[in-house]
């Protein structure tokens, strides 16, 4: 064990900021991170054991106990639930002989829940030893367990069911499908690698920033911060060493666009990073990608190697002396909050993904306290096209406040879930029509942290000035129990994913889940709705976007679907608590005294 640990740590030159990589590699070798492993890592890195412990315990893909020779992480997102997840889970449990959260008695198979793995257009899906298995059925689940029991490899079980496009690439070989339903004018339009870089080196860095500003490119992660300004701040920040980060953490349930972009157009993303590096004066880039997309690792590494060979990365890019830029890939280990840029930076430095206090902003003090730009995958793609076709063209697409296109991840109750790249400004109705959605009860726009809207609002526009979105649209059909199947799932998700740093987020995500469960069980009191709304105002005190938006699923459904709550709430005397049942509360006592004691 020690030998393995030392070898891994040596590979990373004993650099404690690489703790994420170190733990991921050690776990890949040893199966899980035992107390002895943690102690040995701490000793070898010469850091306090608690520093290793807190990182290891924060991320849900780090195992502190054995999770079976084959570990099944079955997605338990809302859309997985729509598509029959419960029956698949039961089949896994029966076949494996253990419940979720446990390892089968023979130690072969571990079953674990996991949050959305970015496959909402092909659910139910699971990760089994880092391989993705999509569109699962109970029969397939039984077949998989039988195969794993019989000693078949995960790769063999996957067989030749490969997806379209680069999913079938020899270095990917995934059964994942792209489902690109609509190619827009920017991201999924024609692309010639390197052309924008050649254009860029003929300009000064300030000219590049001026171009991006003139195009009004805004961040595509959801917040919509002007990209040119961000670059400018970082360029002006003092210091020689600066970083460009690409945020591919994509943890918002229902979002999967970055997965498709990185599968089909990784060169475009890396070219965008190099352009950002040129503009900001950074030489090092880092792609922070969620561990769920680990199956893309070899392919992305090969893409980077190819780009270096073509002088589109590395020293003297596009023949320009002094334009040096390279990209490193950093995997996460399962934590939604790491999509928040300062948490992402903390994670990249090897720590718990806990958001930082701001200011200072990452553009002043980010990764390793150096100026750092964090851009979304799609933002970087947009920039490349702005360089090639100019800001006028870019400004001709979209609306007054929202220029260009948006890549939408559409999933849920519709005929054609998948990727839709559309100009900003289309209405929710337009998208529903494209995706073949009928009899829609509600649409969750922007994932759980966004808004759940009713048909009366389907004529609203997708744009920063109206319905801002990071791109996820979950279609919720009439047949769904909105509170139980959707809102409660999101409440559990936020409770699970809260980093626990701010008290309102830590306490109220849990308390609101309990109140919601009470209401769903028909035990709600009228005052419970008021309580939830008051708590939501307290949540605005939290440090990061996760905490500030974590009660949005509840607030937006109370606002737009109040009747669904009121139906379940007990009318009558509001002075008493309907959930309290005295007869049930004394049952244990009556049982204890009824039996004569030995």
């Amino acid at each position: 064990m020690e030998k393995t640990i030392h070898a891994v740590i040596n590979k990373y030159n004993g650099d404690e900021t690489r703790l994420m990589d170190i733990l991921l590699d050690i776990q890949a070798e040893l199966g899980y991170l035992s107390d002895a492993t943690i102690a040995c890592v701490a000793k070898t890195l010469n850091i306090p054991q608690v520093n290793v412990e807190q990182t290891a315990s924060f991320y849900h893909f780090f195992a502190r106990a054995p999770r079976g020779a084959c570990t099944v992480y079955l997605n338990d997102s809302v859309v997985a639930g729509f598509n029959g997840r419960a029956a698949v889970a039961r089949a896994f449990e029966e076949a494996a002989g253990c419940s979720f959260g446990q390892v089968s008695p023979d130690g072969r198979i571990g079953l674990f829940d996991t949050a959305c793995i970015g496959m909402s257009d092909q659910e139910p899906a699971a990760l089994i030893n880092d391989e993705v298995f999509t569109s699962l059925t109970p029969a397939r689940a039984r077949e998989l367990v039988a195969g794993l029991r019989a000693g078949q490899t995960v790769a063999a079980l996957k067989g030749d069911r490969l997806g379209d496009g680069q999913n079938a690439h020899p270095l990917v070989r995934a059964m994942v499908r792209n489902n690109i339903c609509r190619r827009g004018a920017i991201v999924f339009d024609d692309y010639q690698p390197g052309a924008a870089l050649r254009r860029v080196v003929a300009m000064s860095s300030s000219e590049v920033i001026a171009l991006v500003k003139a195009a009004n490119v805004r961040g595509r992660g959801g917040a919509g911060f002007p990209t040119g300004n961000k670059w400018e701040f970082a360029r002006r920040a003092p210091g020689d060493v600066k970083y460009i980060f690409c945020n591919a953490d994509e943890g918002e349930p229902g979002t999967f666009k970055d997965r498709v972009i990185l599968t089909e157009l990784p060169q475009l993303v890396f070219e965008g990073m190099a352009i950002a590096g040129y503009a900001v004066g950074a030489q090092q880039g880092l792609l922070y990608i969620r561990n769920e997309y680990r199956y893309l690792r070899a392919y992305l590494e090969q893409t980077l190697a190819d780009l270096r060979a073509h002088h589109q990365l590395g020293p003297s890019i596009a023949g320009q002396a002094g334009f040096n830029f390279d990209v490193k890939i950093q995997f996460g280990a399962g934590a939604y909050v790491c999509g928040e840029e300062s948490a992402l930076i903390e994670s990249a430095e090897g720590r718990r993904g806990e958001p930082r206090d701001r200011p200072p902003f990452p553009v002043e003090k980010g990764y390793l306290q150096r100026p750092t730009v964090v851009n979304n995958v799609e933002t970087l793609c947009s920039v490349v096209k702005v360089i090639l076709r100019g800001p006028e063209w870019y400004n001709s697409l979209g609306t007054a406040e929202s220029k260009g296109t948006k890549v939408l991840s559409v999933s849920g109750d519709c005929a054609q879930p998948g990727i839709y790249e559309v100009a900003w400004g289309l209405t929710v109705n337009d998208i529903l029509k494209m995706a073949g959605a009928q009899d829609v009860q509600a649409v969750q726009v922007g994932g759980p942290s966004g808004a759940c809207i009713a048909p009366a609002e389907f004529n609203r526009k997708l744009a920063y000035e109206d319905l801002a979105t990071g791109g996820a649209l979950i279609v919720i059909g009439r047949q769904r129990d909105l509170l139980r199947d959707v809102v409660l799932n999101f409440a559990r998700f936020f409770r699970e994913e809260s980093c626990g740093s701010c008290v309102p987020c830590r306490a109220l995500t849990g308390m609101s889940q309990l109140v919601l469960e009470k209401i769903i069980a028909g035990q709600g009191a009228p005052r419970d709705l008021d309580r939830l709304l008051v708590w939501a105002t307290l949540m605005k005190r939290n440090r990061c976007g996760l905490g500030q938006t974590a009660l949005n699923p509840i607030v937006s459904t109370i606002k737009n679907f109040r009747g669904l709550y009121e139906q379940r709430i007990k009318a009558g005397d509001d002075r008493f608590e309907p959930a309290f049942d005295l007869a049930a509360a004394v049952q244990d006592y009556e049982a204890a005294v009824a039996v004569p004691q030995e």
């Binding site: 008493f576 309290f580 005295l582 004394v586 005294v593």
Partner: protein, 188 residues
């Protein structure tokens, strides 16, 4: 002062699964007790030993959570007779010290207390867990008051400082808003 302009408010108090520490803290308002009885009249309360409600009350002060069925009946009766219910102290608000047992199944608690504990071996030769129709029934866990009835206000502390109880009472009785300064809720 106030007695000239308005009728006295009627107050009831009780200690459920508490230690009477909160009541002691109430008495700790010292000479202001004299001021208090100018402002209010006490009904059911251990302070004057009135056992049953004899009239409807304006304010009920609850110390302690619910650990047995008698606590529940008392709390419900307070809710029925008092316009405003105030949870006084940690046990009423969150269960407090008695709720430490909430992580242990009741059966194990009773067995440890009456059957297997190091001090009970000889004193309970018949190995009986006390039960009688006159004894309250123990609940499966200790419930904070708000899980049983609606509570209107909460005065935190273990026990809440006498000054805080006083200020809260004066605010309730006079209908003026309580000024919560930072040191009111800063405990470290």
């Amino acid at each position: 002062m106030a007695e000239n302009t308005m009728p006295k408010k009627i107050i009831a108090t009780t200690s459920l699964a508490g230690c009477f520490g909160c009541h002691m803290s109430l008495l700790d308002i010292d000479e202001r007790l004299l001021e208090l009885i100018e402002l209010v009249e006490f009904n059911k309360s251990p302070i004057n030993d009135i056992k049953e409600f004899t009239k409807e009350c304006d304010i009920g002060l609850i110390e302690g959570g619910c650990c047995n069925d008698e606590n529940v009946h008392t709390l419900i009766s307070f809710r029925q007779h008092c316009k405003v219910l105030v949870a006084v102290g940690e046990c009423a608000i969150m269960g407090g010290l008695p709720a430490l047992r909430n992580v242990i199944p009741l059966q194990e608690c009773l067995a440890e207390a009456y059957l297997h504990g190091p001090t009970v071996a000889d004193s309970n030769p018949q190995r009986i867990i006390p039960h009688d129709s006159d004894l309250p029934k123990i609940l499966d866990r200790v419930y904070p008051c708000h899980e049983v009835v609606k509570m209107d206000y909460f005065i935190p502390g273990c026990a809440p400082r006498a000054d805080l109880i006083w200020d809260a009472l004066v605010a309730l009785v006079t209908g003026q808003e309580l000024k919560l300064t930072y040191d009111t809720f800063k405990f470290d």
